[in-house]
Symmetry: C2
Subunit: 357 residues, 2 copies
Amino acid sequence: MQEKPRKPRSKPAVEVGPRPNLKELAASLGISVSTVSRVLSGRAEQNRIAPATRELVLAAAAKFGVLVDQSARGLRLRQTLTIGLLIPDIANPFFASLACSVEKAARAGGYTVLLCDSRESTEIERETADLLHARRVDGLILAPVGETYQHLLPLQQSGIPIVLVDRVFPQWDVPSVVADSFGGARMAVDHLVAHGHRRIGCVQGLAASYSNIERLRGFRAGLNAAGIRFEPQLLSGTDFTAEGGYHAAMELCRNPETRPTALFTLGNLLALGAMRAIHECGLKVPSDVSVVSFDEQPWAEFLSPSLTTIAQPVETIASEAVARLLEILRTPSGTKSAAGVLTLPVSLISRESVGAL
Amino acid sequence: MQEKPRKPRSKPAVEVGPRPNLKELAASLGISVSTVSRVLSGRAEQNRIAPATRELVLAAAAKFGVLVDQSARGLRLRQTLTIGLLIPDIANPFFASLACSVEKAARAGGYTVLLCDSRESTEIERETADLLHARRVDGLILAPVGETYQHLLPLQQSGIPIVLVDRVFPQWDVPSVVADSFGGARMAVDHLVAHGHRRIGCVQGLAASYSNIERLRGFRAGLNAAGIRFEPQLLSGTDFTAEGGYHAAMELCRNPETRPTALFTLGNLLALGAMRAIHECGLKVPSDVSVVSFDEQPWAEFLSPSLTTIAQPVETIASEAVARLLEILRTPSGTKSAAGVLTLPVSLISRESVGAL
DNA sequence: ATGATCAGCGCAAACGTTTGCGCAAATCCA
DNA sequence: TGGATTTGCGCAAACGTTTGCGCTGATCAT
């Protein structure tokens, strides 16, 4: 059964190759590009397209595998249905899982994620932000490298909605979604104190980073609450790598005189390095030194001993960040959504690496 | 000092906001869009733009932070300077570091990476491939989820260059870049055999995946070469997670009668789970059970005991894949580059987890 | 039979670039 | 001084979509 044209058509039935564009598809069907566009964008009803025509187009589109060119669409619509995600280090398991969750949430909302890694460099971060801007992402989820955000202001001023994750800049009026680093650190210290520890070392990461600052603040608050004086020589560490954790813990545990009975590590990989260092000092976890670490990882329970951690709700951080961004994108521009910080609760997962004194 | 117009201009000096497009910038300078475009695309020389004009444009562009709209550019040029990277799981450290290296190499070549995660689903993989196609990526680096590639053929037929990483499909004529999984597995077994082990268990990952198949093949070849018979009951495992490794190793080590003296794990996280299982069986690594694992990780040397691994040249895999893709992109289309598989050598990093019998 | 109404679809402009071609002014040669 | 050449730049079309508006034919009421 072949459709009978209602009137003689200029181009009766042009042959068409694989993956044609709308124009070619329209030509092959003898109808206009407008109609094809209206059908494929799902706006057939509103535009009063005859059901027969709609089916015709849909069938042909499916048959030839038509894909609407997003460059052209983005140009015309001035929106790309893309959000940018800019993180400092994709090889960091925390950001990897964050990225995964962000993508999932974005996809569910009909958006694609353009994932970029600034490799811990503010300069690359600035370049990449511009690049994302040039690519006309509709919005941005950012975890800036350092303490500065000046280089990101042009982005914001040009009207691109921004949501921060894992960072807060009190001076900057953009929404943030973070885990409760302060509270988590307090929980860790409280947990250690509850097990009788009073001499607690802290293995930190990048001192200037927001998470590090907050966790350290929580650490000191915890000590304070227990009536323990903070001793600077019980704090060590330079970055968030396993190697950094190893050296920092080495420094803390080398001297039997000043050795702490427990270590709080401020990031997932730090704990691995620290446990190694403890081991190399001829000590045992948890009998000689207990360990609590920030950041849960799937493998934490498979270490020996399994690791007590502060778990961040990564999935929730991601979905909330995406939700906030999409809400801004959907609200008619002009009506500013509230900036504000969303702080999500963390939880302590108690395992074998903490022992009672 | 203000520039003096060489003739009365229609729009003498239009004011301009932040981040104008070429048209606005041109208007504000009283020159044409063409000229601005020619300057900003670096083609000033070829187009005989007066040096004075060039500087004028460059200065204004820098001042206002002009960003060339990549949607429009992509539409006009029919190329986006973007490559897609489609991997099964960004939370897997191997793919995370691969992604990082791919991005680095691509950036060096002037390309941006659109990173997508198919979350181990062939269906998502197909959708995402279409999405990347619709976004008009210039090329694609793929690590398909499973054994099938049929769903990717339309992509290839529409002319998008594809390079595979970490996978080979002998029947499909696309270039592949992989580490020598077979050779690496042999090295692992040889290493264990050299330490006197003859009863060697294997903790595998996703049985259907290319890497798993090759590593298992190497494992069996290694046994064979040592005159050891492969025993199916010494093979266990279902996926590449720490949990999978734990259960598989548990199964292998539970029974003291049939327990192997060494374990070869086919992926990074598997080793963590396996070591945990060994520990829970009341055994010690390496005195009771030795462990070698495929996939080096930064933290491998910080485990206790530190882990002997087969290291893949991730950075080289990435840079070679990007290099091959860019070469195809740069060769005038029509001249097909050779498909072929590039197999990169792996190396054994000997640490404490292997002991002599 | 006549005008009004409406369903269904196409025309054409616009989004922001790039680039072949051509035009005016400046320079050169005789 | 006059023609030829060169220099420097603008015009306009094209890339593939989307969408306001208007056109055609059919249906309907009178």
